[in-house]
């Protein structure tokens, strides 16, 4: 798994947020567009692109995009 691709895939889930604003260190819950729709889209992206059926509870403690990446990477090894 490559973090650069993961960040790009993560940023793809947003409609109105400039992808440039999203980096590995972004605290994604604080993004203005973060919502139930985006959260669900991210779970769906993780399932489809990385083959792991992540739950909302697993996503909740992740603060940055990198935290999310590290969690998913640990599950799909």
């Amino acid at each position: 798994m490559d973090i650069k691709d993961f960040v790009a895939n993560f940023a793809d889930q947003f409609d109105d947020t400039d992808p440039e604003m999203i980096t590995a260190g972004t605290a994604f819950h604080d993004l203005e567009e973060w919502s139930s729709l985006i959260a669900l889209s991210v779970l769906n992206m993780v399932n489809k692109q990385y083959g792991y059926n992540m739950t909302f509870d697993e996503m909740k403690p992740c603060v940055t995009v990198e935290d999310l990446f590290n969690f998913v990477a640990s599950k799909v090894k």
Binding site: H29, S36, L37, A39, L40, N53, F56, D57, E58
Partner: protein, 214 residues
């Protein structure tokens, strides 16, 4: 981010739930329920929360303030009967709502007729398990938790025997429509409301629903 606690709503929560519902119009202002006043919604939720076939899950913050809710009926037909039984209670809040928008009276009468199958217009699914409203106060950074709130409601509906859960979304409400499609809902049919809005009936197959809870 505050801690959110989910629980089943009680009749005494009607005012707070009506408040959350009232503020759905901050983000989406189309349709009858986005035009009626707060008093109408309070009456509506008093009836809904006294219906034994209704499942209403609400989300409370640290201050015990309700910040979100979602609702569904195990028996839409029974819910409509309950609304008809309480029709006189809606008259005053409807009149006060109509002071600023007189066309609401006609809309309300037609909706009322539709609950008895006496209207030519189609509004909502009128039989069986039906999901209704789903709202979260805007301007909060914890609205993603509404996904969990909805899953809890779905789980309860499933436990009580709902195998298919029907609901409707206006096509122009693009984000919500997209949400349900990603979440696994299937389109049943599209119909046009009397005010010209295109509305899509969708259904969740509860036996194949992907719960996002552990």
């Amino acid at each position: 981010m505050s801690n959110i606690r989910f629980r089943l709503a009680k009749p005494s929560d009607a005012k707070q739930i009506a408040y959350v519902h009232y503020h759905i119009r901050d983000k989406y202002d189309q349709g009858f329920f986005a035009q009626v006043n707060y008093s109408f919604l309070v009456k509506y939720y008093k009836v809904v929360l006294n219906d034994p076939c209704e499942v209403v899950v609400c989300a409370e913050d640290d201050n015990k303030k309700i910040v979100g809710f979602c609702s569904a009926s195990l028996d839409a037909e029974r819910q409509f009967r309950g609304m008809r039984k309480n029709k006189w209670g809606f008259v005053l809040p409807l009149i006060t709502s109509a002071l600023s928008n007189p066309s609401l009276i006609k809309s309300a009468l037609d909706r009322f007729k539709s609950t008895k199958g006496e209207s030519n217009n189609e509004y909502v699914t009128s039989k069986g398990p039906r999901a209704e409203y789903w709202g979260w106060l805007s301007g909060r950074n914890d609205s993603d938790q509404s996904v969990i709130m909805q899953d809890i409601m779905f789980y309860i509906m499933k436990m009580f025997g709902a195998e298919k859960l029907f609901f409707e979304v206006d096509k122009i409400n693009k984000k919500i429509f997209k949400f349900h499609k990603i979440n696994g809902a299937e389109e049943v049919k599209t119909f046009t409301m009397p005010d010209g809005r295109e509305r899509v009936e969708l259904v969740y197959d509860m036996n194949n629903y992907n719960f996002k809870l552990k």
